[in-house]
Point group: C3
């Protein structure tokens, strides 16, 4: 049976860009989510960097059932579980730890783990992972790193995030091993 | 109880730049240390790259009690223990291994482990670490990497080292997740 | 007793550049190998990225006994064993996993593991490894990364691969911690 991580391929099939959102005040989530959906975004990543993140996931999951909402910046088991309880359909982390991987194994909700080197990705591929967040993309090798992995490791698919803007996003999306891109440029403008 | 690594925040509170020193001949350590202290440096990292390193730590620890002296380039358990016996107040490594982490758990002297990716830092954060050496800073993403980690991982604090000079040091020190910078530019000039 | 990985130092003593080869059709391997040997190359890395890789290793091992032939892009135990059965004299991977390291421990044929950070290399050094592939070299820090490791970690030797061309190869080979360079520029021209 395929690993749950592989479900991300299906879940995010129609998604090329994922807005990565930091909610800074109460009541901000729904208006912002509606604005982004109006711009054409179908998938939103609400980070747990602020205390408003979980509530925002809950509000969007309830009020906007057509939106695919994920939880970002999840760095421990407690956040993983709270995000699912709030309605997150996928879980994203800037990296990965043994505890997060263990939690993901037990969960029904797929995990998009952050990686920064081929070995970090290969170790998770051995566990069944095929979809990864490359973070922070621009700092750890960006397009060069991704291009270099296409030939030896074509089975690994990446969502580069970190330092990407509207212009560079299309360069990333043109690569065969990039399934989507994360960024915040559309949130702030 | 906080992890011993967190003691580094207190120990290095007044330190913004750590000279990283390679002792190349007998008798060089104390004059060099005095010269650096006269320039305002309070903390010195004496590397174990040469056979004079341990003796230098011993001499400085004994003759200059106001200096905070650490041992650098520690890559195994034997060096860790020898450095402490010589009087090192903290232990630095270009990276980290299971053996070094195990040794650090048992030791009273705090360990500043080298990391180069978010996952390397997050795995140690799960064990209680909050202070890291980013090495080699300029090669593995430098300012870009550190800036990208501020928003998702503000709890991780870094001492970037490797390829930094007097001019770039201030750019690093301006970042909220940089607690000090390591370098050798002040040693050779 | 030294780790088998250290045998790579002897095996590749006369090799400064390793052509990294992707065989795209039946019958291509021997003519290509002969052309490369005529140009002066002594060691060839045949990747297992295509279904022709194993057969190519077998053909070269049998018909050209003076050539040192290795298997590249080995990412699991099955490929490791098949490559040896085909006659590979060394095994290369873009990274390393627990499964590959375990397989290498049991094998008579040395493994050149891919690494991208000091900690990835140090963890394997603790197991006896001294020779590493740095991959993808240009993307993960290249010359800067290698230069920064010379002073603290002179015992680690690298074969940078990924994004290197004929011109930059000599810059890499000039470093004391580079024992050879991998590339494909001589294959396509």
């Amino acid at each position: 049976m395929a690993h749950k991580n592989v479900d991300l391929g299906r879940l995010l099939k129609g998604t090329s860009i994922i807005p990565v959102i930091v909610i800074k005040e109460m009541g901000e989530a729904l208006p912002l989510a509606r604005k982004l959906v109006a711009k054409g975004y179908k998938t939103l990543e609400i980070t747990l960097r602020t205390e408003f993140g979980l509530m925002a996931i809950m509000e969007i999951a309830e009020a906007m059932p057509d939106v695919i909402v994920g939880a970002g910046t999840v760095i421990n088991k407690g956040q993983y579980e709270a995000a699912i309880a709030a309605g997150a359909q996928f879980i994203v982390s800037p990296g990965h730890t043994d505890a997060l991987i263990e939690e993901a194994e037990q969960s029904e909700v797929p995990f998009l783990p952050g990686v920064a080197t081929p070995s970090e990705a290969m170790k998770l591929y051995d566990k069944g992972y095929e979809y990864f967040k490359l973070f922070p993309a621009e700092a750890v090798g960006g397009l060069k790193l991704l291009k270099s992995m296409i030939s030896p490791l074509p089975q690994l698919k990446f969502c580069p995030t970190g330092g990407i803007n509207e212009k560079s996003a299309s360069d990333y999306l043109a690569l065969s091993n990039v399934f989507c891109v994360g960024g915040s440029w559309m949130v702030t403008s």
